[in-house]
Amino acid sequence: MSSYRVRDWVFVGLFGALWGVVETTLGTYLNVIFPSFTNTFFKGVILGSIGVAVALTGRYFIQKRWSVLLIGIITALLKTLSPGGSRIGPIVAILMQSVLMELVLSVAGRPQIWAYILAGALAVGWNFPHKFVMMRVMYGRTIIQVAQKLTQDGSAMLGLDPSMAFWILAGLLVVRMLAGGVAGWGAWALGGAVSERRTHRQQVATE
């Protein structure tokens, strides 16, 4: 990170704050519509997609390795420091999403649209395993064993093949990844539009 200049650190802070704004304002609003103990699917997809789009737009303007991860760390810290914000679940999700985006963008090397789409898809797709991981961490292994037994019983009771459960779960994962891919593509387009606008403004100022 020695290559980071003041400008890069400022932009990391700003895009981290922007993601934080989305998490705190929109998150609170969505929590009212979808309480945490009811349906978390839509909440996760909406919040995840917008957050991922913000972080990836940040990467458009900070073309340096680790920048998305750093933006995620700032957002997680803001969430930690916000009143009533010391919640472990969203913080783990934000960090994991930024790790996944950073991995894809680092592997891709120079900025490319497919990398943005893939990074977005993987990051929002993380919402799916996140629930299982957090259930495992928060409740211990017993609930997983019980859930497995329940799935077997449920498939026997409904006369459904256990493979149907697989397709339902796969469908939910695909929807999340599609939303993430759109967010990644949106971030690429947004970065381009803003960049064009800034260039135009600079040209006008120079003239």
């Binding site: 704050a17 700032i74 420091l81 472990i88």
Partner: protein, 231 residues
């Protein structure tokens, strides 16, 4: 009342999270008791989550889920290593264990992290040679309210001009305005920092030393872990 330095509270968080994931059964109740005592004596602010009804709904759901899951899955005492116990008791034990684990993890996180101020976190970054990240966090904290206000104003402007009739165009307009204004703020901060010859990698480091209380806390936590392991 804060008694320890940032290192002490961070140690407590790491210890609490680790123990919360590893221990089972009655040891979880002991862990929750230790954390509650820690909160009562050294960070009452961190216990604030216990006053929220949503938190208790969450814990209550976990407890209630146990007997239901147990009866649905046909568990009996043998599944928990205690043959001869009735099914409902097994389910209740399962629910209580789930709730206690969630409570222990959330308490560890809340009690440790809520005790840290922004300056504590900046000092920790300084000591870890990540001064730039501390600077970025400072920028983010200071501009959070401004960005919130800017987002609200942009949204209201688009709404008052009838932009919401075309939601996709309005969303694009909103995002472009938001990001452009954010970058404009960023340019102003960079200019201000350059004028003051600010260098994130230079300057004097903040001091954040381990205190005797931190060492006593670390030793006590290690003893608790060893005691828990031996029982």
């Amino acid at each position: 009342m804060k008694r320890f330095s940032a290192w002490g509270y961070l140690t407590f968080t790491v210890w609490g999270l680790g123990a919360g994931m590893l221990v089972r059964g009655w040891r979880l109740a002991a862990l929750v008791a230790v954390e509650l005592l820690f909160g009562l004596f050294w960070n009452r602010e961190g216990l604030g989550m216990l006053t929220r009804w949503r938190f208790w709904v969450f814990v209550g759901t976990a407890v209630a889920l146990g007997p239901w899951l147990g009866s649905r899955a046909g568990l009996d005492g043998a599944d928990l290593g205690a043959a001869g116990l009735p099914g409902w008791w097994t389910g209740l034990s399962l629910g209580l264990e789930m709730a206690a684990r969630a409570l222990a993890l959330m308490l560890a996180f809340s009690l440790g992290m809520s005790a840290l101020s922004l300056s504590d976190i900046l000092a920790v970054f300084d000591r870890l040679h990540l001064r730039g990240l501390g600077f970025a966090l400072g920028v983010a904290m200071n501009l959070l309210a401004t960005l919130q206000e800017m987002a609200r104003t942009t949204f209201e402007t688009i709404k008052l001009r009838g932009g919401l009739r075309r939601p996709l165009a309005a969303l694009r307009l909103f995002l472009v305005t938001l990001v452009t204004n954010t970058l404009r703020y960023g340019d102003q901060i960079v200019n201000a920092a350059s004028v003051r010859a600010f260098d994130p990698s230079g300057g004097r480091r903040r001091s954040l030393s381990l205190t005797r209380a931190d060492l006593v806390l670390a030793a006590t936590l290690a003893a608790c872990a060893a005691g828990c392991w031996a029982l």
